[in-house]
């Protein structure tokens, strides 16, 4: 799996998890705030424009604004499945 595909997959997973946790409306509406992402109605990320890491950072931050540590925990456990991708830059809190 290419790194590009990894990112798509990870971002999708993240959004899907947030859809369960926060509700689909909220999760998707937040995901769409990240302008570089193209997100389907089902929460599938179909394209990333520009730097995927930046997109991941931004998306993570959007979710953390809503659900704080839970989002962080979710992301952390997801990252374990994607060794190629580094975690987000810390600096929040």
């Amino acid at each position: 799996m290419s790194v590009e595909e990894d990112y798509l997959s990870l971002l999708t997973d993240l959004i899907k998890k947030q859809m369960v946790m926060l509700g689909p409306g909220v999760a998707i509406s937040k995901a769409r705030k990240v302008s570089s992402l193209t997100v389907s109605q089902e929460g599938q990320v179909t394209a990333i424009a520009g730097d995927p890491q930046a997109a991941l950072d931004q998306l993570a931050r959007e979710y953390m604004n809503l659900s704080g540590q839970i989002a962080q925990a979710t992301l952390a456990s997801l990252l374990e499945k994607y060794p190629n991708i580094k975690g987000i830059a810390s600096g929040s809190k």
């Binding site: 909220v26 604004n65 839970i70 456990s77």
Partner: protein, 606 residues
């Protein structure tokens, strides 16, 4: 004609301009209006946020219940936007189950509610990062009716996770039959509220934890044993000291404690008594194993007990508030505290004192009897009738016996002064060798009588010492009299020399060595103590003494800035008593007198 055209054009232009202007203005106006409205909305939201937070803050003052937080938020939702149901799910750690409450605002079908429950459980699972299979769910539905025939499913919903102190404790769900309603900024308000509330609670919990740990540290460091039992006779708390005092394991069960107390103290009965009464029971004296305790049993009330669960009250927040006020007024006893105060030492001391007094009374009465009888023998009615030799003999007896009594009384007086803190030591610079020689000569007659040699061995050129002449004489008298008393033969040697430590002389060491009966190792400890004679049961035949001599000697030596100790190899090998006297410093020699008075709380315990 041109004028008309011109006018028409101007008019049209003007009108157009006017209209354009009007539109422009309107647009600008509208935009401002829009901004204003947005601002107003924002303000309204902020106000709403503040109101909800305040209410939460008020209630946090009463209790830190995650459940309450969730309930408050859920109930306040109605003010913000429309929904069909607002539900809360809380994880009850104590009983390992989920408490689910669904507030129905608009009639929905039971399926709707079931769906909400499923979605919430899924979200909760996700939050806890573990599946919640087979977990008990306590379900309650309040509000509008539930209609089987209602066809509307959940069209939109969102969840608010509640995290306190890093732990996911609950979820709030808002669901609606109307699709697409929860995607705007308004929902964010709630997330912010939830987050702020959670943070506030987390901080407060931290404070509470700190207080709790400080409290338990205080409880642990109590010098008394403490146990606390609730109304169901369950052990709430037992500090380490209690375990130590009762001789049971740390972290005991109520059973262990009752066992340790059985036969001496009926915990259950006393608890019931305490329940029935206000305040503390009068203290009891209880003997447990080899110790004696003063035991205090008291009832404690929990001001916050008797609270009702808010879940049973209506959706109206103000109604709940009234209920809260009522709750805090009611006091219900919830626990019994039992305190164990160790008075074993105090009791022992008391007993020793009494024994001591009894012994002293006897020690004084016996010589008095002797004296009285001696006097009677001299025939007071007509003393001339008795041969002078006989009279002389009895007079001698009277003299020596009264001398013994005098010494005893003096000792008793000294000890009384020590206890009262009125024992004065007046130090001055002097020649210790002189005092020693004087005392040795003083005891020579007695020594000769017992066929004991007595000598002084004094290092030449001893520097002047700092001591109380009268008192040090007393010390030497005591040590020399003991040395001679407890020897049948041999010699008594008094030595004085500079004591050298690490190459430098630090003070003068005086030693009184005898070749008498010696002292056993286990007796040495009690030798200098006030009740020493009583405790060690040491009463040598015919060697009457008050037993206080060495006690007083030690006090004098120490007050003069010295130390005293004894060396003996055991029974029959003699003993050497050593004590030190400080050098007289230059400042001392100038003639400053040093008066020290003894404050003696310690004397009583010696």
């Amino acid at each position: 004609m041109e004028l008309t055209l011109g006018l028409a054009i101007i008019t049209v232009c003007g009108t157009v301009a006017g209209i354009a202007g009007y539109f422009l203005m309107r647009r600008k106006f509208e935009r401002e209006l829009e901004l204003n409205r947005k601002k107003q909305e924002e303000l309204a939201q902020k106000a709403y946020e503040m109101a909800v937070l305040k209410e939460i803050g008020d209630r946090i003052g009463y209790s830190l219940d995650a459940q309450k937080i969730v309930e408050i938020i859920t109930r306040s939702l109605g003010q913000l936007f429309s929904f069909s149901t607002a539900s809360s799910m809380i994880f009850d750690g104590e009983y390992d189950k989920i408490i689910f409450e669904c507030n129905v605002r608009e009639t929905v079908s039971p399926q709707f509610i079931a769906d909400v429950k499923v979605k919430m459980l899924a979200a909760f699972s996700e939050m806890l990062q573990e599946p919640l299979v087979d977990i008990d769910v306590d379900e309650s539905v309040v509000g509008e009716l539930v209609d089987e025939n209602d066809k509307y499913p959940i069209a939109s919903f969102f969840n608010l996770p509640i995290v306190i102190s890093g732990r996911a404790v609950g979820i709030i769900n808002v669901a609606s039959k109307i699709p697409g309603v929860y995607e705007s900024e308004e929902t964010e308000v709630l997330y912010r509220i939830a987050s702020q509330a959670s943070q506030a609670v987390s901080k407060l919990q931290e404070v509470l934890e700190n207080e709790k740990s400080r409290l338990s540290q205080a409880v642990e460091s109590l010098s008394d044993g403490l146990l606390m039992v609730n109304s169901k006779y369950q052990l709430i708390l037992a500090n380490r000291r209690l375990s130590h005092l009762l001789g049971i394991i740390e972290n005991p069960k109520i059973f262990d404690i009752v066992n340790a107390l059985s036969g001496s103290f009926d915990l259950r009965t006393k608890m019931e008594e305490a329940y029935a009464r206000e305040g503390t029971l009068p203290p009891l004296e209880v003997a447990i194993r080899d110790k004696v305790f003063q035991v205090f049993v008291s009832r404690v009330s929990d001001k916050k007990s008797g609270k009702q669960s808010l879940r049973s009250s209506s959706l109206d927040p103000s109604a709940s508030l009234r209920a809260d006020t009522l709750e805090t007024a009611g006091l219900k006893p919830v626990a019994i505290v039992v305190l164990f105060h160790d008075i074993t030492d105090a009791k022992n001391l008391e007993r020793l004192r009494q024994d001591f007094t009894a012994m002293m009374v006897h020690e004084l009465r016996a010589p008095l009897t002797s004296i009285k009888s001696s006097v009677a023998m001299i025939n007071p009615a007509d003393p001339a009738k008795m041969p002078p030799a006989v009279v002389g003999k009895y007079l001698k007896t009277i003299d020596s016996t009264s001398q013994t009594m005098l010494e005893l009384v003096n000792d008793l007086l000294d000890v009384a002064k020590l206890e009262a803190g009125k024992f004065d030591i007046i130090c001055d610079s002097g020649d210790i060798a002189e005092v020693i020689s004087d005392r040795v000569e003083g005891f020579r007659p007695i020594a000769i009588e017992k066929h004991i040699e007595i000598n002084a061995v004094i290092e030449p050129g001893l520097p002047r010492a700092w001591f109380d002449k009268v008192r040090i004489k007393q010390v030497l008298n005591n040590l020399l009299s003991n040395a001679i008393k407890y020897s049948d033969s041999g010699e008594v040697t008094v030595g004085a020399k500079k004591q050298i430590v690490n190459g430098a002389p630090i003070d003068i060491l005086v030693s009184v060595k005898d070749t008498g009966i010696g002292i056993e190792e286990d007796q040495i400890e009690k030798l200098f103590s006030r009740f020493g004679q009583l405790e060690s049961g040491r009463r040598n035949a015919g060697l009457k003494s008050s037993g206080l001599g060495l006690f007083i000697t030690k006090k004098i030596v120490e007050a003069s800035g010295g130390k005293i100790w004894v060396e003996s190899q055991g029974a029959g090998t003699g003993s050497t008593f050593n004590f030190t006297v400080p050098f007289a410093e230059a400042s001392h020699i100038e003639g400053t007198h040093d008066i020290k008075s003894f404050t003696t709380e310690k004397v009583a315990q010696a």
